[in-house]
């Protein structure tokens, strides 16, 4: 993977030193909170309900074992022995104390990590397909482009004070696992008629208060034009984007207000100005970065152990069926380690689990680890003969749950258990759905299903693109949960539709059960997933299941 250059290292170190001075000045009273707040946010430090929270970037979800062990060390030394992986491929520590944060940032810098641009109105951590560099369906590894974007956007003087935060997602595969259509810029690799690789450029997607699926402004952008084109998009947005109203400041509103055709025209015009200014240094840099993402030396060995275990052990078989994805080398598999053991907090890993994952990545995974926006951990390159031993080791640490892509593999934001912006809790709802359907033994019967939960309208839990989305709200001083159905974060992206009035905290799990029992009754067979069934039958049967017996519930 990409290692920091001396330049990166010096930059991060200087930022740590600056922040150390800022914290000292805050503590001795020379800085007020109003002065300090933007400075701490620039370093990923938030103040939440019960404590500070430090958000650390994991660029394009790629992390090595040494870094993972350092996160475990930080969790033990300065936090409460765990970390929370987020939907933006970041990790959050929920309990740091202010005077310790400069030391934590120093410990991160020791392993080439930082919290820069994890907050504020700048280009945030660039997210990528978590199967990047391994997936069978991939055209090209998108991470060199993501790294190029990271370097270009870090401290970019023109883009530090954008109208609002700016999120870029990139995938090198036509099957979109990076939710590119719900980002400010989504880059989806495609081939043109001549077989060349390029990007479909999608602009103005986003969730939150006004969810929108992005519009394609370029069907095919040659890869060599990436930086000037992205810079053109940012430049147009920086000029047009509204600074008068925070709720209308994201580029999705700019696109909406300007019109898709007009914005595409403006981007192309700006691109025409910028393109000649890129003299090839970016391409030289890209070539250099590519070296850092060379695939590992794949082994060539029999895979019988995997087949034998699959035939002999139903527990292993269930795990292999859900948690493995096709690798482009068919002796290999991509392993998703579920951080969603039934009843666990989605996305949380203890320091012991982090260390075990680091060890297993070294033993079985060519030392590569990825974090997914779905809040799981990926070992992208595992030889199939090593899978049984890997599974056994994971199972001993509550990491072997066979539920990836199933009902208990829930995305849930921190919600009102941590987040100061929340209007309701999300974690306990996720925990209860997972344990409830586990107890009913319906999980595997229901099959592929994505439930996504957010604790407020900001939609960090991506509820709009959940097959079943749950949004926690405050209705007259009581937690209330609104359900959406039919959302989809893939290349066929769609925003879910509201079912109707929301449900109280103790009604939400039974409501989800009613939806899924209706699905099981009406599906044409186990091959018809929930999403397929939804697309066939629409809202009516689910609405009837939810609200049919009107006397049983109060509309909220």
């Amino acid at each position: 993977m990409y290692d920091y250059t001396d330049f990166d290292e010096a930059f991060v170190r200087s930022r740590v030193a600056q922040f150390r001075g800022q914290v000292e000045r805050r503590l001795d009273g020379s800085l007020t909170e109003d002065e300090f707040r933007p400075l701490r946010l620039m370093n990923g430090l938030y103040l939440q309900l019960h404590a500070y929270m430090l958000r650390v970037a994991i660029p394009y979800g790629t992390i090595n074992p040494r870094q993972m062990r350092q996160l475990a060390m930080i969790a033990d030394r300065w936090d409460k022995g765990y970390g929370h992986f987020t939907t933006r491929q970041n990790i959050q520590f929920n309990w740091p104390k202010l005077p310790d944060v400069p030391d934590i940032l120093g410990a991160l810098a020791d392993v080439g990590m930082h919290a820069i641009q994890t907050s504020g109105n700048c280009v945030r951590n660039v997210t990528a397909d978590h199967f990047a560099g391994a997936a069978a369906d991939e055209i090209e590894d998108p991470r060199p482009y993501a790294e190029l974007l990271r370097q270009w956007s870090t401290d970019h003087p023109e883009f530090q004070f954008l109208p609002r935060k700016f999120k870029i997602a990139i995938t090198g595969a036509p099957n979109d696992r990076a939710v590119t259509r719900a980002h400010d810029i989504g880059l989806r690799m495609v081939r043109n008629d001549r077989g060349e690789a390029g990007f479909e450029v999608i602009v103005g997607g986003g969730l939150g208060r006004t969810p929108m699926i992005g519009t394609t402004v370029r069907d095919f952008l040659p890869v060599a034009d990436l930086l000037p084109y992205v810079e053109a998009v940012l430049s147009v947005y920086n000029t047009l984007g509204r600074r008068d109203n925070k709720y209308k400041a994201r580029i999705k509103i700019t696109v909406h207000e300007t019109g898709a055709d007009e914005i595409a025209r403006m981007i192309e015009a700006r691109f025409a100005e910028l393109r000649p200014l890129f003299g090839g240094a970016d391409q030289a840099l890209l070539a250099e970065i590519r070296q850092a993402f060379a695939p590992p030396a794949f082994r060539n060995a029999p895979v019988d152990a995997h087949e034998a275990a699959r035939a002999a052990d139903p527990v292993y078989r269930a795990w292999a069926d859900t948690n493995l994805a096709p690798h482009r080398n068919d002796q290999y598999a991509i392993v998703t380690i579920s951080l969603k053991a039934h009843g666990a907090t989605p996305g949380d890993a203890t320091s012991d689990q982090m260390r075990l994952i680091a060890d297993l990545a070294e033993t079985f995974g060519h030392s590569e680890i990825r974090i997914s926006h779905e809040q799981n951990v990926i070992l992208p390159h595992v030889h199939k003969s090593d899978l049984p031993a890997l599974h056994a080791a994971l199972s001993g640490a509550r990491l072997g749950t066979a539920n990836v892509g199933l009902i208990s593999d829930i995305i849930a934001c921190p919600g009102m258990d941590y987040c100061a912006l929340a209007t309701a809790r999300s974690i306990p709802v996720a925990q209860e759905i997972a344990t409830h359907f586990e107890a009913l033994k319906l999980e595997h019967d229901i099959g592929p299903l994505k439930i996504k939960i957010s604790g407020c309208i900001n939609a960090c839990g991506h509820h709009h693109v959940g097959h079943i989305g749950i949004l926690g709200l405050d209705r007259a001083g009581v937690e209330n949960y609104q359900i959406t159905l039919g959302g989809d974060g893939s290349e066929d992206a769609a925003i879910g539709e509201k079912t109707g009035p929301g449900f109280a905290y103790d009604e939400i799990v039974p409501a989800i059960e009613r939806i899924l029992r209706a699905y099981l009754d009406l599906r044409e067979g186990p091959g018809e997933t929930f999403l397929m069934a939804w697309r066939r039958v629409g809202m009516a049967p689910f609405k009837a299941a939810l609200y049919g017996e009107a006397s049983n519930r109060h509309a909220a």
């Binding site: 009273g29 019960h50 405050d474």
Partner: protein, 101 residues
């Protein structure tokens, strides 16, 4: 004329970041029930000014609705109730830091 809903002054501590409540004797307590229950609007504003002046101790002071209870003031809104107990997924925060709430 609507009656003034009683309030407590609450904030987060600058160093630890945890939720605290302003007591009548000007201490900051981690226990909601030790807070001063303020029943008068003008007094509430005075106490908030007092809290905001303590820039080296607390951050983000505000007035939160409260009501009298057998052991002292109790939170009204669920958000404030969660702040008095800590997260629901782990026994961290106030649950770990104190024997009882």
């Amino acid at each position: 004329m609507s009656r003034f809903t009683p309030k407590v002054v609450t904030a987060n501590r600058l160093i630890e970041g945890d939720a605290v409540y302003l007591c009548a004797d000007d201490r900051w307590s981690v226990h909601h029930h030790e807070a001063e229950l303020i029943e008068d609007e003008a007094h509430a504003q005075m106490r908030l000014l007092h809290a905001n002046a303590q820039r080296g101790v607390v951050v983000g002071a505000y007035l939160a609705d409260a009501r009298p209870g057998p052991n002292g003031p109790e939170p009204v809104h669920f958000r404030e109730r969660f702040r008095t107990v800590g997260p629901s997924n782990y026994p961290h925060g106030k649950q770990a830091d104190q024997a009882h709430v």
